[in-house]
């Protein structure tokens, strides 16, 4: 087996040195009747060539986004990631190292984490950020728990524009993590009632339908009532175009960072961005990298403030997270460094203008209505037919036209004819024309 270095004679030599007759000796503590007598009924070892063929066949049964006009968003976005990003994250020293527990030989990882934290803080308009969460949705649930800890209240108000999967994750964690936790759903544009049990208001911007709004009034409303404002962002490119959550009064910002540096990957691995105000530092979940000096006085970086974390605080920790999304954070940081301020703004502008072009084109089709007039790179349309049927018909024509609202909100029949459509910089004028043509035939 190509991955196992020992020859049979080396195994024998080692056993002899140990003084064991066979490897079975080491399994003495396993009850005899619990040891498998045969191999599990699974295929045997295969050559690289054979495995490559088998997986290649599976891959070929999927419609790759890059092979068709593609307009699917709702929390995961197809962007062009420069080739150098993927090359760099595959450097052995990044890809095959562990969490930087020995900082003297992990400065590479630690320095990029410091860069990452700074970039996230700048993008979100917040003071500090952690070294990543699993993804946006788990980050959102952690943010709610953090708000509970800070305010010592136990109820979260969730705006209707929040991605329903995010809402469900928050709901699940809230339900199980705290006995008196409760979740209040309010309409996307509603100013929610905040009572003395409400720890936070969770709002997404742009929301799941693509609509953007000014969050400052909501922030004021929350703060006046002793609650925190948690802003969720699922499209990180929007940071380059939209007023930052921090500038609108957010206390915690949670974002899905996949758009920068990371592929679609059918939903994972993704990258949770988590930023907050400095005063809440000690309630923040997750790893944090900090600057320090070595014995010679040279600048260096370490993981720090681990008194918040499970490996030190165990059942008193702010979160149970351990492994996070390190390499996705690296991809994010590299892509973000390549973009820089100028590139990000240009990219965001291009996303917005492609989406505007697309909206203009679709709106002109008879029967198609634009539901979200103010958007960044994603919007919602209404069609005469059920959205799901429209999307399937488009797919049959080789156009991946968006997400039917019914897939996310099966229970809300008023959304049945709606489709959420995204357009990024990867969309060409031809793609837009192809979509309009196909949709015209379908509706």
């Amino acid at each position: 087996m190509r991955y196992l270095p020992h020859t049979p004679s080396e195994r024998a030599e080692m056993l002899a040195l140990i003084g064991a007759a066979s490897v079975d000796d080491f399994f003495a503590d396993v009850p005899q009747n619990k040891r498998l007598r045969e191999l599990p009924p699974l295929p045997l070892a295969q050559s690289e060539m054979a495995v490559e063929r088998a997986l290649g066949r599976m891959a070929a049964r999927n419609m790759a986004a890059g092979s068709v006009p593609f307009f699917v968003g709702c929390g995961a976005y197809r962007h062009h990631v420069p080739a150098s990003v993927d090359h760099l994250i595959q450097r052995s020293e990044f890809m095959t190292s562990y969490t930087p527990y020995q900082p003297e030989i992990a400065q590479g990882t630690l320095q990029y984490l410091f860069e990452f934290q700074t970039q996230v803080a700048l993008l979100t308009g917040m003071e500090i950020a952690n070294a990543s969460m699993y993804d946006g949705s788990t980050g959102a649930a952690e943010a709610v728990l953090m708000a509970h800890r800070i305010t010592k209240r136990g109820k979260a108000v969730v705006s209707g524009g929040l991605h329903p999967h995010y809402r469900d994750v928050i709901k699940t964690i809230s339900h199980y993590s705290s006995n008196d936790a409760a979740l209040l759903d309010v309409g996307a544009d509603e100013m929610p009632a905040i009572d003395s049990e409400t720890s936070c208001v969770v709002v997404q911007n742009p929301d799941v339908f693509g609509a953007v709004r000014d969050l400052a009034p909501l922030a004021r409303h929350a703060h006046e009532n002793g609650a925190l404002l948690i802003v969720v962002v699922t499209e990180a490119i929007s940071f380059g175009a939209l007023k930052s959550p921090g500038s609108m009064g957010a206390d915690i910002v949670v974002a899905e960072g996949q758009s920068i540096g990371n592929a679609l990957n059918f939903g994972g691995p993704y990258l949770g961005l988590f930023a907050t105000r400095e005063k809440y530092l000690r309630q923040m979940p997750g790893r944090i990298c900090g600057q320090t000096v070595d014995e010679n006085g040279k600048r260096g970086f370490v993981l720090t403030l681990s008194a918040r974390e499970q490996h030190i605080r165990r059942d008193k920790a702010t979160s149970n997270i351990c492994t996070n999304s390190g390499l996705c954070a690296l991809a994010f940081t590299i892509h973000m460094t390549l973009l820089g301020e100028a590139g990000l703004k240009r990219m965001a502008q291009l996303n917005h203008s492609r989406a505007c072009q697309l909206a203009d084109a679709l709106e002109q089709l008879p029967g198609v209505k634009l539901v979200t007039p103010r958007f960044f790179n994603e919007f919602t349309i209404e069609t005469p037919q059920p959205g799901a049927a429209v999307i399937d018909a488009l797919a049959a024509k080789g156009v991946l036209g968006g997400v039917p609202a019914s897939r996310l909100f099966p229970e809300r029949s008023e959304l049945a004819n709606r489709i959420i459509v995204a357009a990024t910089e990867t969309v060409t004028t031809d793609d837009i024309a192809a979509y309009a043509r196909a949709l015209k035939e379908v509706v």
Partner: protein, 509 residues
């Protein structure tokens, strides 16, 4: 930057501070600016904006670098890291095994990497097949009834498993009275953290003198208020829990469930099935046992296998198969959900590639080699180092404590840092807590005998040096790493968690 400050009094200092291939690298904030970009875009016209007053107008402060500068910056940073590809990485509990490059190649096939979690299910049948196939492998290898694929890492898997346990108790109406979770004191921090997060009360179980969990201790703690036990097996001392079957029986008899922390499944995969031991739920760290790369801290993947009893409490989404293919069930009554999409697809591809490459035979052999290697390390070090639990054979990792360093003045940490100078990544230190000054060595099956021998010889040398009283080597270590020992206290006392100066100010400097 004035580089003259790098010049000390000795002739061996350099002007740049670099030392040959060891090159100092500033932060992007010190080399980038607001105009430079390494990404070109066509057709960014003025274009109508629908954003109005919501448009971001202020300077963000993000530095940009051209592509050559970016590549160099991150290549230079990478060179300051140790990695599996540099040498043995014997972090106990972390399972730093070889990461095959085929796995990376497969994960990047556009048919896997470039598909969207919400595109029509008819257009991702191959992806669903892959997840289903991987699920089948996991179920077969563990002998369990089902598997939830969505958890994002081990700790997230713990959450998933313990949520199911709590849900089961809620469903049977016992939650109000069953809140205790038994957790051995050798457990990983994520175990108590997870239990506490979910509203359980953590009840610690002391290890026996031999490092394992005793049936009596469990029995003593068991009662009608106990919801579950979280047991790691093989445990964090590297020992197979000999009483696990009777403990499981006892728990089940008392109406409680057995959650198994499967971080160490790599010792027994293909040889022993947790399902046969009475486990009700167990997460599998694909980034440990099945070799998806650790990536400097993630991403991982932590699917959870369930017994029949818990299967219906698994979270959404789940994949089902019927006559016209695979379906993702994304909504179902009040089903729980732990993450937005379907799990770590990128890691699934890698793990399945690894499994198919090894086959059932290779998985079993890998477990055997991992155990052989740990026992070899242990056998060759036991006369110069000290073991807290010397009586039982170890599984895939060998645990030492700092008794052999007593009165030398050398601590476990010093010892670890001296290993860095010798070109090794240290083992896990100070974990598990049940060993004093613990040193937990997990060589994995990827190490050749030659590599193990070199490591062992160096460890023996260091142990002898410590005992000989050559303390300076340890206290000053590391001497040859990119940095000398770093001041962690300062980092925590006066936290600097981001680059402070806004970029404009720098540019003006």
């Amino acid at each position: 930057m004035d580089m003259r400050k790098n010049l000390g009094s000795t002739a061996m200092e350099t002007f740049t501070g670099n030392k040959g291939l060891r090159i100092e690298e500033p932060l992007i904030f010190e080399i980038g600016d607001l105009e430079t970009t390494g990404v070109d875009f066509e057709g960014v016209g003025a274009g109508a904006s629908r954003l109005g007053s919501l448009e971001r107008r202020e300077t963000i402060g993000l530095p940009g670098l051209s592509e050559p500068e970016t590549v160099r910056h991150y290549v230079r940073l990478s060179r300051k890291n140790y990695s599996i590809d540099s040498g043995i990485f014997p972090l106990g509990s972390c399972t730093m095994k070889h990461n095959p490059r085929l796995n990376e190649k497969m994960a990047r096939l556009p048919g896997f990497a470039d598909i969207h979690p919400l595109q029509p299910q008819s257009t991702v049948q191959g992806a669903l097949d892959l997840i289903d196939t991987l699920a089948h492998w996991l179920v077969e290898l563990t002998g369990m009834a089902s598997v939830a694929m969505s958890p994002k890492a081990g700790a997230h898997g713990e959450l998933c498993g313990m949520v199911a346990i709590r849900a089961a108790h809620e469903a049977s109406g016992e939650w109000a009275t069953r809140r205790a979770v038994l957790v051995p004191d050798s457990a990983h921090g994520t175990n108590p953290a997870t239990a506490a997060l979910l509203g359980f009360e953590v009840r610690a179980i002391k290890a026996e003198a031999d490092g394992t969990v005793g049936l009596d201790a469990v029995r003593a703690a068991l009662g009608p208020d106990v919801a579950a036990m979280m047991l790691t097996n093989p445990n964090t001392c590297g020992l197979f829990e000999p009483q696990i079957v009777t403990i499981a029986d006892a728990l089940h008899g008392a109406g409680a469930y057995l959650y198994c922390d499967g971080a160490n499944f790599n010792a027994i995969a293909g040889l022993v099935r947790p399902g046969d031991l009475g486990v009700d739920a167990m997460h599998i760290n694909l980034h440990k046992t099945f070799s998806t790369p650790h990536g400097g801290g993630g991403p991982g993947a932590g699917p959870v296998v369930f017994s029949q009893a818990l299967t219906r409490f698994a979270p959404l989404p789940r994949i089902e198969r019927n006559a016209d293919g695979f379906h993702i069930v994304e909504h179902s009554g009040d089903g729980d959900r732990l993450t937005a999409f379907h799990g770590q697809m990128g890691m699934f591809v890698r793990a399945l590639t690894y499994m198919m490459s090894h086959g059932a035979d290779g998985v079993a052999q890998a477990s055997r080699d991992a155990v052989l290697n740990a026992n070899y390390v242990r056998a060759r070090l036991k006369d110069v180092m000290s073991q807290p639990f010397p009586d039982r054979p170890c599984m895939h990792e060998a645990l030492f404590d700092d008794a052999f360093l007593k009165d030398t003045g050398v601590t476990t940490l010093d010892f670890a840092k001296a290993m860095i100078d010798e070109g090794f990544h240290p083992m896990t230190v100070y974990f598990p807590l049940v060993a004093h000054g613990a040193m937990l060595i997990e060589p994995t099956e990827s190490e050749s005998k030659q590599s193990l021998d070199q490591f062992i010889d160096a460890m023996r040398f260091l142990a002898e040096e410590a005992i000989r009283g050559n303390v300076e080597r340890f206290k000053s270590a590391p001497n040859f790493a990119p940095r000398r020992r770093l001041d962690e206290t300062r980092a925590a006392r006066t936290p600097v968690l981001r680059y402070p100066a806004p970029l404009k100010a720098i540019a003006a400097e």
